[in-house]
């Protein structure tokens, strides 16, 4: 890459914030010392590698520019963990589109390790945004449901009046089906944007998983579960909400795999740098994987690659996780399957 001037290089290597440059193909073209420290990797391990393979996309960065619109500035946070042995840490990212861009610098990413206070502040901001969104969606739902109810009632009446055997029955039936689909979207949007209040209670990991499997209703073929922890693990969350959140991940994995034995679950425990314990549910599938440019889109409401799905499952799961003090992260690559990880703060046994 074009080397920064000596003066600029001294400045970049001195500042405590991590600075990373990502080229238009999504590969890292530069990383300063602070960035390498945050990533727990050497320059050789980072330069030339895909940015999305280094950092799990929470709601994230789309380094593959061009295919998907990227905000000029995008702020998010993720938990970084270089290897299974190292300690997971929260890191804040600010992704800025370079101006002008060139062959080597398309995005500039600033990184900073987050203290617990900063994590809470970010959660607070997100909750405020969600509250605003909730009011908007609530108003929309009300205004849409009244005319929907009218259409449904009129089609129902028509069906009764024309009677069976009339060729117009199909028109009325199709209208009623369409109303049903619209109502399903409204319901899903309300569920995403207006989560009910959480009632945290002490929950045990195995119980949460059992409840989630029941809700996901995957049939006789329960996915294999690996427990990487001795003894029961506890957290204080809303039991129903978190079970629904895990169920959404299980349903997603089941549909991605397309075969019952494709989904795998792993439950483990981690302690972060602030000595906070975390429960970790990894839900993996052996599906086609998700290209890096879609890593943040899969958590968007109404985004789905499957026909006749509302595209709200993962969006709902992420909101619910955040509401319960946790988060969901994605690791995936094309042809390598996907792993969605639900992190929940642990409560002492």
């Amino acid at each position: 890459m074009t080397e920064p001037s000596a003066k600029l290089e001294v400045i970049l290597q001195t500042i405590t914030a991590g600075v990373v440059a990502v080229d238009p193909s999504g590969r890292v073209s530069y990383a300063n010392q602070a960035a390498l420290r945050e990533l727990e990797r050497t320059g050789e391990e980072v330069i030339g590698r895909s940015w999305n393979s280094l950092v799990p996309a929470l709601s994230g960065t789309n380094a593959h520019s061009g295919s998907v619109a990227v905000d000029p500035e995008h702020r998010y946070q993720a938990v970084l963990q270089a290897t299974a042995e190292s300690t997971p840490r929260s890191v804040g990212f600010l992704v800025i589109r370079a101006r002008p861009t060139n062959d080597e610098v398309d995005l500039v990413v600033l990184m900073r390790g987050l203290t617990e206070v900063a994590v809470l502040e970010e959660h607070g901001r997100r909750r405020e945004r969600l509250a605003g969104l909730g009011r908007l969606v609530g108003g929309l739902a009300h205004e849409l449901r009244n005319p929907l109810a009218a259409v449904q009632a009129l089609a129902d009446s028509l069906l009764i009046e024309i009677g069976p055997g009339d060729p117009r029955v199909e028109y009325a039936t199709r209208i009623i089906d369409a109303v049903g689909r619209m109502e399903a979207f409204v319901r899903a949007a309300v569920r995403f944007a207006q989560p009910t209040n959480s009632e945290p209670v002490r929950c045990e990991a195995a119980e949460l998983l059992t409840e989630a499997l029941r809700l996901a209703n995957l049939g006789a073929s329960e996915p294999g579960t690996q427990w990487l922890c001795g003894g029961p693990l506890y957290c204080r969350v809303d039991r129903r909400q978190v079970a629904e959140c895990l169920a959404a991940l299980l349903t997603n994995a089941d549909e991605a795999s397309g075969r019952p034995e494709g989904t795998r679950i792993r439950v483990s425990r981690h302690v972060d740098s602030a000595d906070v314990g975390w429960l970790r549910f990894d839900v993996s599938d052996d599906g086609p994987g998700i290209p890096g440019e879609l890593h943040f889109r899969v958590f968007e409401p109404f985004y789905s690659t499957k026909p006749a799905r509302t595209g709200m499952g993962l969006a709902f799961a992420q909101t619910t996780a955040l509401q319960n003090g946790g988060r969901i992260e994605l690791r995936s690559a094309p042809a390598a399957g996907s792993t969605f990880t639900l992190w929940l703060p642990e409560e002492a046994p």
Binding site: G138, A141, H142, E143, R145, N146, P147, L148, A149, A150, V151, Q152, A153, L154, D156, S157, I160, E161, I176, V179, E183, V190, T196, N197
Partner: protein
């Protein structure tokens, strides 16, 4: 005996459809679009069932609940269904406290509404 049904909703299209639907099923159906119309009806006739939309004036009111309370004071035996386009937290509990028999999310198939009305009437007998 023909059952008397009062349906209150500010949406003319729903009133039209519900009226025709229940009429073909043998009910005597009366409709009202607002609180004043509904109150006048309640004072004049006896009703077996009241179906009312929660929000009638397009404001953020809960006029439907007020009408159900009024109906219970006039005619305790009348069964009630509250329709709502938007479920807000605590609505079920509030409705239960006010003696509402059923809270129903809009939209609903009319066949389902008819089924519930039938059940309410058979419970009463």
């Amino acid at each position: 005996m023909t059952h008397q049904l009062l349906f209150v909703d500010d949406d003319a299209a729903i009133r039209f459809a519900v009226e025709r639907f229940f009429r073909t099923r043998g009910y005597a159906v009366h409709t009202a679009a607002d609180v004043a119309g509904a109150t006048a009806r309640m004072g004049a006739d006896h009703f077996d069932v009241l179906i009312v939309d929660l929000r009638l004036t397009g404001t953020h009111g809960t006029e439907g609940l007020d009408l159900i309370s009024l109906m219970h004071s006039i005619s305790p035996a009348t069964r009630t269904i509250l329709l709502t386009a938007y479920q807000f937290p605590g609505l079920d509990l509030t409705a239960q406290e006010q003696g509402v028999d059923i809270v129903l999310q809009k939209p609903q198939p009319l066949a389902r509404l008819a089924e519930l009305v039938g059940e309410l009437l058979s419970d009463r007998q």
